[in-house]
C-alpha cells in the first residue's frame, strides 16, 4: 500500500505545527521574550495563510484534490473554514498579548498550544477520514482544556478547565463510539467511501446508531442544546481571550467536520431506503436541536448578569443559527447548491468569529487582572468615558444581533436564504424560529449598549490604556465587521470558488504529487 504522500496538500498544517514547535523551543532558549514569541507565531500563521491561498489557487491543478489515500482533501469546505481558523488564531494571539503580560502566563507554551490547537482545527476541516477528524478534534480539545485552565491560581479557571475536560472527553467518547459503529457498518473510515457505502452498508442499523452517537459528540463540541451544559460555566471561568477563542475557533472547527461527516458522508441517495431513512433522521434531529439551541440560547442569555456568560449563551444561540444553514446544506438537492450553502455557513462562522473576537478583546481589556470586571454593572456608563472601546463593543453587539451594514446581517441572510429557498416546510419553520429568536436577542445585546451609554457610572472609572496589539485587533475587527457587512461579495465568491472534491471522485489517482515519497520507500 502506498502512503500517497503529498506534503503540499497539508502545507498549512505543517507550517503551523512547525511554528508551534519553533515558538516552544525559542521560549526555552530565550525565556521571557513574550513579544517575540507572539510575533513569530503570527508570522507562522501568515505563512500558513499564504500556503493556504497557494492551495486555493492550485488545488486541482498542481496540488491534487485529495491525497494521503483520500484522508486529506482540498475542497471549499476545508479552504474556507481554514482561512477563518488562521484569522481566529492570529487575532487571539493579538488579544492575548495584553493578557499574557498581565497574568504572567508562560508565553512560549501558551502560544505554541494555541498553534497546536490551530493545527487541530485545520485538520478537522481538511480531514476526510474519521481518523484525521478524531485526531484533529483531540489535538484541538486537549490544548483548549489546558488553555482554559491556564490561570492556575484562579479557582474559576481551574474549575472551567476541569468541567471542560470531563465533559469534553465524555463527548469525545460518544463521538468515538459513533465513529466505531460507522466504521463497522461500512467497513471504512474514509468519508467519501462511507458516502458511497451508505447505500449498501453491511449493517445499516449500526449506521443509524453511529450517526446518532456522532451527533451527540459533535453536538457537545458545537455546544448545541441539549449538549450545551458545559458552555456557560466554561466560558465564564476560562481566561477571557481563551473564551473568545473557544467561542470562535473550536466551534467553527467542529462545524466543519460535523458538516463534512453528515452532509457529505450521509447524503441522500435516491431510491435507497437506508440512505433516505438515515438522512431523514439526522435532518430531523438536527432541526429540533437547532430550534432548541436558538431558543434556549437566547432566552437564557436574557437573564445573565455576567458579560462573558451572556456571550456564552449568545454563542450557543449562534450555533443554532448556523445549524439552520447546516440543515439546509443537508437538504440541498444538487452538489452546487450544497457547496454554496457550505460556503455560506463558513462565511457565517467567519463573521461570527471576527465579531466575537472583537467583543472578547474589549472584555479582556476591561476585565483587568484575574477577570475581575466582567459583570454588566462593571460596564455602567463607560460609554463616553472610553468611547473607542464602547463604540466598538456596540458595533460588535449590533453585528451579533444581525443589524444591517454589519457582518452579522449578511451572514444571517446568507444562511437563512438557502434554507428558505429549499422550500421545505421544516426549513421555513426553522427560519421563522431563527428570525423570532433574532428579535429576542435584540434585548440582551442592546442591554449592554444601554448599560454602557445610557446609564451613569457611580463608581470611579479609569479609561484603560489600549495597547497597540489590542488596537490592531479592534481596528481589524471593526473594519472586518463592516467589510463583511458591505463588501461581502468578494469573500463569498472566494469561498465558493475552490474546487469541490466531491464532484471529482476522491479515489481518483492524485495528479502530479509534488513531493513523491513513494520513491523513498524501498
Amino acid at each position: 500500500m502506498n502512503p500517497d504522500a503529498n506534503l503540499a496538500i497539508i502545507l498549512p498544517e505543517i507550517v503551523v505545527a512547525v511554528f508551534g514547535t519553533i515558538v516552544m523551543l525559542y521560549d526555552c532558549f530565550v525565556p521571557n521574550s513574550r513579544k517575540t514569541t507572539a510575533a513569530v507565531s503570527i508570522f507562522g500563521l501568515l505563512l500558513a495563510a499564504i500556503a493556504l491561498f497557494w492551495l486555493w489557487l492550485f488545488a486541482g491543478q498542481s496540488v491534487p484534490v485529495s491525497a494521503w489515500n483520500g484522508m486529506i482533501v482540498t475542497d471549499s469546505l476545508r479552504l474556507s473554514f481554514s482561512i477563518s481558523f488562521l484569522i481566529i488564531t492570529a487575532v487571539t494571539i493579538l488579544v492575548s498579548a495584553v493578557w499574557v503580560e498581565r497574568e504572567d502566563v508562560p508565553a512560549g507554551e501558551y502560544y505554541s498550544l494555541l498553534l497546536f490547537a490551530t493545527v487541530g482545527m485545520l485538520l478537522m476541516a481538511s480531514g476526510n477520514d474519521l481518523v484525521i477528524i478524531f485526531l484533529g478534534l483531540e489535538t484541538l480539545s486537549l490544548s483548549t482544556y489546558v488553555m482554559a485552565g491556564l490561570r492556575k491560581t484562579d479557582l474559576r479557571s481551574n474549575e472551567a478547565a476541569m468541567k471542560y475536560f470531563i465533559l469534553g472527553s465524555f463527548a469525545s467518547a460518544f463521538l468515538l463510539y459513533g465513529m466505531a459503529l460507522v466504521y463497522g457498518a461500512t467497513g471504512s473510515t474514509n468519508i467519501s467511501e462511507i458516502a458511497i457505502k451508505v447505500a449498501n452498508a453491511n449493517f445499516p442499523a449500526l449506521l443509524l446508531i453511529g450517526g446518532a452517537m456522532m451527533l451527540v459528540g459533535f453536538g457537545f463540541k458545537i455546544a448545541c442544546v441539549p449538549f450545551h451544559i458545559w458552555t456557560p460555566d466554561v466560558y465564564e471561568g476560562a481566561p477571557t481571550p481563551i473564551t473568545g477563542f473557544m467561542a470562535a475557533g473550536p466551534k467553527a472547527a467542529a462545524f466543519a467536520s460535523f458538516m463534512r461527516v453528515f452532509v457529505l458522508g450521509f447524503p441522500l441517495i435516491n431510491g435507497v431506503q437506508v440512505s433516505a431513512f438515515l438522512h431523514d433522521s439526522w435532518i430531523t434531529a438536527l432541526s429540533i436541536m437547532a430550534i432548541l439551541t436558538m431558543t434556549f440560547g437566547n432566552v437564557a442569555a436574557i437573564v445573565q448578569n455576567n458579560v462573558k456568560r451572556m456571550l456564552a449563551y449568545s454563542s450557543i444561540a449562534h450555533a443554532g443559527y448556523a445549524m439552520v444553514g447546516f440543515v439546509a446544506a443537508g437538504m440541498a438537492k444538487t452538489a452546487d447548491k450544497r457547496e454554496e450553502i457550505i460556503a455560506a455557513v463558513a462565511f457565517y462562522m467567519l463573521a461570527y468569529a471576527i465579531t466575537n473576537l472583537g467583543a472578547f478583546a474589549i472584555v479582556t481589556l476591561i476585565a483587568e487582572k484575574n477577570d475581575r470586571r466582567t459583570e454588566f454593572d462593571d460596564y455602567n456608563g463607560i460609554g463616553f468615558r472610553s468611547p473607542l472601546l464602547s463604540f466598538s463593543l456596540s458595533i460588535f453587539m449590533l453585528s451579533l444581533l444581525g443589524l444591517p451594514l454589519t457582518a452579522g446581517f449578511i451572514s444571517k441572510v446568507l444562511v437563512f436564504q438557502p434554507a428558505f429557498e429549499a422550500g421545505s416546510p421544516l426549513l421555513v419553520f426553522l427560519v421563522v424560529v431563527a428570525v423570532v429568536n433574532t428579535a429576542i436577542s435584540a434585548y440582551y445585546y442592546l442591554r449592554l449598549i444601554v448599560v454602557m451609554f445610557f446609564r451613569e457610572r457611580v463608581t470611579e472609572w479609569e479609561n484603560p490604556k489600549i495597547p497597540y496589539s489590542l488596537a490592531t485587533v479592534l481596528v481589524f475587527a471593526v473594519l472586518g465587521v463592516f467589510y463583511l457587512g458591505i463588501f461581502s461579495d468578494g469573500v463569498i465568491r472566494l469561498f465558493k470558488s475552490s474546487p469541490s472534491a466531491f464532484q471529482l471522485r476522491v479515489s481518483e489517482p492524485s495528479v502530479q504529487p509534488s513531493i513523491d515519497m513513494t520513491k523513498a520507500e524501498r
Binding site: 486537549l142 481551574n158 475536560f165 470531563i166 472527553s169 465524555f170 467518547a173 460518544f174
Partner: protein, 101 residues
Amino acid sequence: MEPTLASYLALSGILFTIGAVGVIFKRNAIGMFMCIELMLNAVNITFVGFSRFYNDATGQLFVFMVMSVAAAEAAIGLGIIIAFFRNRISVDVDDASILKN
C-alpha cells in the same frame, strides 16, 4: 457457540454503558476520568471486533490512535485535576460550583 461479532459488540456496549453511567454517578474528577477511559476502551473493543470481522487493519490503527489520545488525555487531565486540587483541596465535582448562578 463461538463468540461472534455480536457478542463482542454487546460486551463493548455494556462496558460503554457502565462507563457513561459512571461518569454521571461518580462525584470525583478522577473517578469520572477513569469512567471516560473505560468508555474509550469499550469503543476500542468495537473497533477491534470489526477489524477482525473485516480482517482490516484500519480498526486496529484507529485503536492505536485512541490509545495515544488517551495517554495525552491522561497527562493533561491529571494535570488539570492536580491544579484544581492545589487550589481547592478537593476533587469533588460538587465543590466546583462557583460558576453557577
